[in-house]
């Protein structure tokens, strides 16, 4: 039996990585973009964005940097490792959902 993927863990990570594909962004820009692009289906609340951002940075999938003079702000950018990870995981999630939809929509034949 194959290992069941942990969807909930992956979804938030993939949303962030996908948002950063269009270019570097601040944390709040990522949060607003996810909410806007999913039309409110997905949103980050109560600072749950930060542990995910920091973990992705530690794993080398995104790179953080401080910008600005005086009060600096942090931006994050997708790394090549993150790009490759996103492509691979997107394929997996696609396959997973295709299997799920196939089961939910039911078999085309009836059992005798």
């Amino acid at each position: 039996m194959t290992q069941q993927p942990n969807l909930s863990k992956h979804v938030n990570e993939l949303l962030i990585l996908a948002t950063l594909r269009s270019g570097p962004a601040h944390g709040y820009e990522i949060a607003l973009a996810v909410e806007r692009d999913s039309e409110g289906t997905f949103s980050f609340q109560h600072g749950t964005l930060y542990p995910i951002l920091h973990r992705l940075e530690k794993e080398g999938l995104i790179a953080g940097a401080w910008h600005g003079r005086g009060r600096k702000r942090r931006t994050y950018a997708l790394t090549s490792k993150g790009e490759a990870y996103l492509v691979g995981e997107t394929r997996q999630v696609k396959s997973l959902f295709q299997d799920l939809i196939r089961i939910l929509e039911g078999p085309t034949h009836a059992y005798a």
């Binding site: 709040y28 600072g47 964005l49 930060y50």
Partner: protein, 254 residues
């Protein structure tokens, strides 16, 4: 309304992050809050609504803070997570003490065996050097490896270091004075000293004094390193305090 120090203590109690990571997180959150509020206002939202939305989205909850503590847990604490705390502390203290004792004895034993350093000052100064090295080693371990030393801990370490430098000078001088006094007593009662023997006493006293000053200088370097750590920690504490105030201008406890 809680004072800034009370808010800071409460935050440090709830957030198990090393101080530098804690300050960086709050700096990031403050920057994002300001950015989000400004963007929402540009989009036509009222300031109060924009601020409320930004806080709801970005201000870390207890769960988020716990997750952040896991992400930023120092490598040493991750590796020793499964070890009972009491046993771990005992092992840590023993390791630091053992290293300090070895480091203190290394230069002393050859000097005593070579007859260049009398045993009483040698033993006294070894103990003082061992204590100094143990104190320096302990706070370096807590600051760089365990990463749980705050300003108060480092200040306590600095005061202890200064005290141990004083101890090395006073106890070292005392041991040397007693040694000279004992030798003088033997020469007073006995056949008396010869020129070479007197010179040998001068050489021993000089070596002991040089060793004592070396131990004291080592201690002073350690104190300077701790002082540097204290200054960095105080800067982080001050920044943490300012960040906490800016994020909680009129709020009390969460």
């Amino acid at each position: 309304m809680p004072t800034r120090d009370e808010l800071l203590r409460e935050l440090r109690r709830r957030v198990q992050l090393p101080a530098a990571e804690h300050a960086a997180l709050l700096r990031e959150v403050r920057g994002d809050l300001e950015g989000m509020v400004a963007l929402l206002e540009l989009q036509g939202h009222a300031r109060a609504e924009a601020r409320a939305r930004a806080l709801a989205a970005l201000a870390p909850s207890e769960e988020a803070l716990a997750a952040l503590a896991q992400v930023h847990r120092p490598l040493y604490r991750r590796l020793t997570a499964g070890v009972a705390q009491g046993r771990l502390r005992l092992a840590e203290v023993s390791a630091v003490v053992a290293m300090a004792v070895l480091a203190a004895l290394a230069p002393v034993v050859p000097l005593v065996q070579g007859g260049r350093l009398p045993p009483l000052p040698a033993g006294t100064l070894s103990v003082c050097a061992g204590l100094l090295l143990a104190n320096m080693g302990w706070y370096a371990f807590r600051g760089f490896v365990r990463r749980d030393a705050d300003v108060e801990d480092l200040e306590r370490g600095g005061r202890t270091q200064a005290g141990l430098v004083g101890l090395a000078l006073s106890a070292g001088s005392l041991a040397l004075a007693v040694h000279v006094w004992q030798v003088a007593g033997a020469w007073q009662r006995g056949p008396g000293s010869s020129g070479p023997e007197a010179l040998r006493l001068v050489a021993e006293a000089s070596t002991a004094t040089a060793f004592m000053l070396g131990v004291a200088i080592l201690g002073v370097f350690g104190a300077l390193a701790l002082l540097q750590g204290i200054m960095v920690a105080r800067d982080i504490e001050r920044e943490l305090g300012e960040l906490v105030e800016s994020l909680n201008p009129r709020e009390g406890r969460r």
